[in-house]
Amino acid sequence: MATDVAAPPVRRGVVRRAAAVLHRHAGLRLTLLLAAPMAWLVLAYLGSLAVLFLSAFWTVDDFTYNIVRVWNTANFSTVFTEPVYRTIALRTLGIAAAVTVVDAVVAFPMAFYMARIARPRTRKLLVVAVLTPLWASYLVKAYAWRVILSQGGVLDWLGKPVGISSPGYGTAAVVIVLAYLWLPYMILPIYAGLENLPANLLDASADLGAGAGRTFRSVVLPLVLPSVFAGSVFTFSLSLGDYIAVQIVGGKTQMLGTAIADNVTLDLPLAAALSCVPVAMIIGYLLAVRRTGALDSL
């Protein structure tokens, strides 16, 4: 009983003293606050990337397929000299770019309506409608598209009166499905950008005699473009890394993701070397996009 009573003051004393120390030492405070996230970032995240990069310099035994830890660059020269990997890398880049363009074109009017035209109540409903698909499983959505795109499927049935038929499984199907999957990631940044657009700028533009088109080109687009690029970071990088949607609706299409998945169990070092290609592409894209100020609006 006595200890129970005595304990709280002691604990409070320790807490109080610790608080006082932290109050006096701003550096210590910051260190403690950031220690856990930094450890996670450096050890778990960057650490695994580093291990991936290092293992790309190993090789596998031709006969036993055991990993041989001998330093060499054979995997990188394979990735850079074999024409098939160049084809796959360029195709993946093209698909990612196409998905990004499709998403930007589809998302802009939707985001514009949500941010500037819809009433507050409708606006909330639309935001919910855009976000809801993100809660459904990726696999379910991809398989649903497999059914939609199949022969005599929904798309064939809907398009029949106007003479449109499904593109079937292939590169076009991959672009459609990825554009569908990542659309919310494009709509939301553009929506945020358009919502923050000061209304008086639009009024000023109108006062100065600019029509809707001119206002869009000279006022809206320059101010919202960083948001479009911010959205493109998601659509582009997610498309570069995808290997599941392409397996489901891609037909015979190979992307970097599937090439990595094909090699990962048999020849891990080659798969690791291949993985460096999308990483390099994403770093290049981020550096390019940074110049537009898009990363500030993320």
């Binding site: 022969q151 499984y169 037909g251 015979k252 094909d262 090699n263 169990t265």
Partner: protein
């Protein structure tokens, strides 16, 4: 405690295997504890066995030689497996389950990679693989093929029968020129391919919707599609076919080899062998299993004892440098096939 790695391609319905139970009776009878892990592909299974955590493994012929070469599995003393005596002789001491006359496992089931086609879309009814090779352009965009480097052997088998001047004696023993011929054939086929398959459910679905009208399949997929009223037919073409014979093997690092041996004897005992074969859609390896199947036509459907049928089936065997047809060390290995497969798919 024992852990097992059956490979999935030959056990498509494994996900709800709990409903037919041949594991618990074994545990009760022997006191061995079984932990199973199912691998998605042969390649994945080879990498699982490298961990040394598993006592026994069921492997197809495209994986067995790799496991043996890497020292991941040990030779089996068949004398300690009483049920081995009833295994069909055609499955014993074969290039995909033995080395230098020593068995590296107990065969438990087999199947052929058949040619399936939509009866309403493909006419005349094909009896040759030419429909997916030289004649594939007639069905452009609707041809399918198995998505694995081992599929190169299907092209090699077709060339072996149609272009004797290439000198192919064994579809798994290809020198550089022969591999190139097979790769060229597959690159031509690629133009007509709608999709490659490795997922048996996706493959069945494609045949059902008509996205795929002709291509390789397994008996179990054909049965499923026919049960679903899809107008499909599966045949063993006149050139023969590739196929697989699965073998239970013991890890060289097995912590409980006694349990592994008891498991191997159990899994090929007539009743269990029949259960497993029916569950996974394969021909049982034990001659006495056919009396134990619930479907009395099962062994006829799967040609379990049909020697003439199996004579035309070239079982998956890992391609290795040292040619399987005894020509010497001039052949292309599985690594070369893997690189070629990526190139074929483009």
């Amino acid at each position: 405690m024992e852990r097992l790695v059956p490979v999935a391609p030959q056990n498509p319905t494994a996900k709800d295997r709990a409903r037919v139970d041949w594991v618990h009776p074994f545990e009760q009878q022997t006191g061995c504890k079984v932990n199973t892990k199912i691998a998605g592909t042969s390649d994945e299974m080879v990498s699982l066995m490298k961990t040394g955590q598993y006592d026994a493994v069921s492997a197809s012929g495209d994986a067995t030689l790799r496991l043996i070469a890497a020292g991941d599995v040990a030779p089996v003393n068949t004398g300690l497996v009483p049920n081995y005596a009833d295994i069909y002789p055609g499955l014993k001491n074969q290039p995909w389950n033995s080395v230098d006359g020593r068995m590296y496992g107990i065969p438990h089931g087999r199947g052929a990679n058949l040619l399936m086609y939509r009866t309403d879309k493909v006419s005349p009814a094909p009896d040759s693989w030419s429909v997916v090779f030289d004649g594939a352009s007639a069905y452009s965009g609707h041809v399918t093929a198995y998505d694995s480097p081992i599929y190169i052997a299907d092209a090699a088998l077709y060339l072996m029968k149609t272009r004797p001047e290439l000198g192919i004696k064994n579809p798994y023993a290809l020198d550089d020129a022969q591999l190139k011929a097979a790769v060229d054939l597959l690159k031509t086929q690629h133009q007509a391919i709608g999709e490659y398959w490795s997922d048996y459910q996706k493959s069945e679905n494609s045949f059902k919707t008509g996205d795929t009208v002709v291509g390789t399949t397994w008996q179990v997929i054909a049965n499923m599609a026919q049960t679903d009223q899809a107008p499909v037919q599966a045949v063993l073409p006149k050139e023969g076919a590739t196929g697989w014979s699965d073998t239970w093997m013991v890890s060289s690092k097995a912590a409980h080899p006694d349990c592994a041996y008891q498991w191997m004897n159990w899994i090929v005992s007539p009743k269990v062998n029949a259960q497993v074969a029916q569950w996974f859609g394969e021909a049982p390896s034990n001659a006495k299993a056919c009396d134990q199947t619930t479907d009395k036509n099962f062994c006829t459907t799967f040609h379990a004892a049909d020697d003439a049928y199996w004579k035309n089936v070239y079982y998956w065997t890992t391609p290795i440098k040292n040619c399987l047809d005894g020509r010497g060390a001039t052949c292309t290995d599985y690594a070369a096939w893997t690189a070629a497969w990526t190139e074929i798919k483009g």
